[in-house]
């Protein structure tokens, strides 16, 4: 028993190494959102394509929907965009955009260049609604249920894995 004592430092090192290795895999940019399971913040914004028509939170009650935060200045948005266009074509769920801190003309031009997956985009020029949704890393994607409760949030670009393994099963259970 006593002869194994010299292994203690090695064992301690092993434990430390395991902790550090696990720490490397964590993404510090992914802050757990306190909004999950809470009602989506109230908003009333004009449409990107029509400054006279507005959409509010209560208009969306009764259906499951996806809110995708995007901007024409956002490089990572371009990366996820083809995936989103394809996803929207499958018509599983209405996808709405939140055009965050953008200029109307730039946003509209961006959509006509890269394709428009959105039922409508809400125009959030000063970023107020973005702040209410706790947006800090565009693009972000929210899944909101029939009662207007946020059920899922993706920070950063969507990936095929997230869409397939997280969002689609969630949509199925919410729409059941």
């Amino acid at each position: 028993m006593k002869s194994l004592k010299f292994l203690i430092p090695l064992a301690l090192f092993g434990v430390l190494a395991l902790f550090l290795a696990a720490g490397l895999k964590l993404d510090p940019r992914e802050v757990p959102s306190p909004l999950i399971g809470k009602p989506a913040p109230d908003f009333k914004l004009t449409r990107l394509d029509d400054p006279t028509a507005s959409i509010s939170r209560d208009d969306m009650l009764g259906k499951v929907w996806i809110l995708n935060v995007w901007a024409s200045w956002c490089v990572a948005c371009r990366e996820e965009h083809p995936m989103l266009v394809e996803f929207a074509q499958r018509k599983l769920v209405p996808v709405y955009g939140l055009n965050y801190k953008d200029v109307r003309a730039d946003g509209t031009a961006w959509l006509s260049r890269h394709g428009n997956p959105y039922e409508a985009s809400l125009f959030d020029g000063d970023g107020r609604v973005g702040i209410d949704f706790g947006v800090y890393g565009v693009p972000e994607t929210f899944v909101i249920d029939r009662k207007g409760v946020i059920r899922f949030k993706q920070i950063g670009p969507l990936t095929p894995e997230v869409l397939r393994d997280r969002i689609e099963p969630l949509l199925k259970s919410l729409q059941a």
Binding site: V31, P32, I131
Partner: protein, 162 residues
Amino acid sequence: MTHPETRFARVVLLACLVLFGATSPLRAGEAAPAADDPALEARLVAITSELRCLVCQNQTIADSHADLAVDLRNQVREMLRRGDSREQIVAYMTARYGDFVLYRPPLKESTALLWFGPALLMVAGLVVLVVVLRRRARLPDESFETDDDTSGPTPAAGGPTS
């Protein structure tokens, strides 16, 4: 007549002048909205320097030049003008970004280890130290190596050795 070296030096000097001349007005522009109410700005700095900027996570909202930090400072400024308390502002931030924004996290079950971990580590270290020292004090003299005064290099304190 000019040497190539002096000509090069002139070009460098000119480049420096152009560069610094071009950036300084930009820098001067950023401090603009502060002046009108120093007391409010002081409170703003006091509050926002305890909030983490989400975009560049090692900076406070007070320090950061990120777009979001600027927006949040404006938001806090507006709330202060409206007469909101520090607690209300902190609640506003944590409702959106979670306890993560607080540089001084609240004392909860999930953060107990964070708060008391260092003290626990120190107590554990002290306990180990005391145990080791007491065990060593009980050991008989034979278990220590003797200081061999004759063979060891014991330099005399000062003075040359002959």
